[in-house]
Symmetry: C2
Subunit: 331 residues, 2 copies
């Protein structure tokens, strides 16, 4: 395993120590070392919280900051934050108008968020949730509630965070974050597996010359393993999965997000974007806004996912509002 | 080769097509498809230009935009831009007060920049240059002019671009960019080789369990191949190379930049940063500003480099000024 590590069991602590120092202009610690908060005040407005495991950087602490998340609960590598970490993130984000917890659909996160919401309620703090389930490849439409959250989460944070920053009430923040999820569809391909530092070897396999369509960020099985295709072939495959699911149609305005899974060079992410854009152009689906980069990664995994979000005037306004975090900027 | 590509010979064209569309708020094309320009006007001030091969994203087009570079010449993967591309970048950046060309010390870039400067002179356009040579591991101090430019280039662009945006004259922009270089020292370790898409297999080797100290961004040989060390060991090794070379001493104020080489997870870059910070703390060298991330990569190479820059009030002011590019933000 060719990685830059000390004791792999300490990676989350050591990473956080570095992260908090580098980004001291944006984030600050709380009393719980597994919950961090943005320096932006939430006084008199809704606080936005997320959380998740630590192997997906910039997700999730990289989206803590102005215009996105006000506090983030931090889990170990590929492991949900504890209920206590979520609870402490809720109290850190509480500005007196309630908290919106926007998170991804994974069993551990679901369980811990639910426990934390109950604990918060006992303390008199209202927390409402949106659970992102944008990964079309992870379950059929009829079972949408089973789908994983992947890079559509970034769109959810951006829209929810923007609405919170307008001073809107909790129900409005929840409504727009849920709308961002409902209007988003994603799918990805994995080209190589990833290696958890504490394990030292890949915990699943993707054979040279093949790719796994719909692989999850922790190596969860996808829809199928097939021959590695060209960028054009991958773009066609992903849009064939995504577009009919919503459906996206001629005349729609959308955002397009290409998310690198960690080790796929940026050049190739732009090449993939370009192929997706050609397909959408041909279908007269208008791209209003585009994002390309590593947003929700799986350490050293190669591959990329595509997220398409149908935009209305409200979502466009939310995406256009400023944000300043380690992993996402909009001015 | 597990990569997202069409015909590898077209990757630069296709990447650029995607890049220009995604970042149409920041950059625009010129008449030369291998020169792009920032949307920011250079009218009445110095224009800042850089350029380089296309396998190092965000470098170099990712630093085109407000507060950094006004135009960028684009080469193929691991290949210098042509003299014509540099020349066209110069004319694109020309706002009537001359052009500062800030680039890295590679033979192809040196040759093409020199030719382009001559061609510009014939056209009546004054271009002055700074050649970044921050990589301590690539030649001894006595032969500093032979050293490669690596991630210290980002500090050079930031300081030169900031000075240009103040309206300072060409000599001032060149002076501060040269100062940024002269005050910067870098060194890196490579943990895996990279694979050029058109080649299909790594063009050099780094054996499992070893690392190459001082490997260049195109696989240029480093100082030595040794056993893969812990993050703490790598931090000690890199600071042992860098600190005596300037030298950096107790009481100095510095910026620290950890640059991921492409496939090294961000978690590990923050762990490495943390170890560097501990060493500087112990030496009472004060970290004024820190950067961690993928700035100047080698596609799918694993590894990281460290750049330390000694700061005075002027350089601090330059680093603190705003920038808005694909690959670097400061507000």
């Amino acid at each position: 395993m060719q990685r830059i590590l000390n004791n792999p069991d300490n990676i989350t602590d050591e990473m956080l120590e570095g992260f908090m120092r580098v980004h001291a202009d944006i984030v600050e610690p709380t009393d719980n070392p597994r919950a961090i908060r943005a320096k932006t005040s939430t006084k008199g407005r809704v606080g936005v919280v997320t959380g998740g495991g630590s192997g997906h950087k910039p997700a999730f602490i990289g989206f803590c900051g102005e215009g996105m998340c006000d506090a983030v609960a931090v889990g170990e590598i590929c492991s949900s934050p504890t209920a206590k970490a979520f609870l402490d993130a809720f109290t850190a984000a509480d500005g007196g108008k309630g908290v919106a917890c926007l998170y991804g659909n994974y069993s551990g996160d679901n369980m811990n968020v639910k426990m934390a919401v109950k604990m918060a309620k006992k303390m008199g703090l209202t927390v409402k949730t949106v659970c992102c389930n944008d990964d079309v490849a992870s379950a059929p439409l009829a079972e949408r509630e089973k789908r994983r959250g992947i890079a559509g989460e970034i769109i959810m944070y951006k829209c929810g965070g923007a609405m919170a920053s307008t001073g809107a009430d909790l129900d409005e923040v929840i409504r727009v974050a849920q709308k961002a999820v409902d209007h988003s569809r994603s799918a990805g391909v994995g080209l190589t597996p990833c290696t958890l530092p504490a394990v030292g070897h890949p915990n699943f396999e993707i054979k040279e010359g093949t790719m796994e369509v719909g692989v999850g960020p922790h190596g969860e099985p996808g829809m199928e393993v097939c021959k590695l295709e060209s960028a054009a072939g991958i773009a066609k495959r992903l849009t064939d999965i995504i577009l009919p699911d919503y459906p996206f149609e001629e005349g729609d305005e959308v955002s397009v997000l290409i998310n690198g899974m960690g080790a796929t060079p940026l050049n190739e992410q732009y090449v993939l974007y370009n192929e997706v854009a050609k397909i959408l152009d041909a279908k007269k689906i208008h791209i209003y806004k585009s994002y390309v980069g590593n947003y929700l990664t799986s350490m050293d995994m190669m591959g990329a996912s595509l997220t398409i979000t149908k935009l209305d005037d409200e979502l466009k306004k939310m995406l256009d509002m400023p944000a300043y975090t380690m992993g996402f900027h909009e001015r």
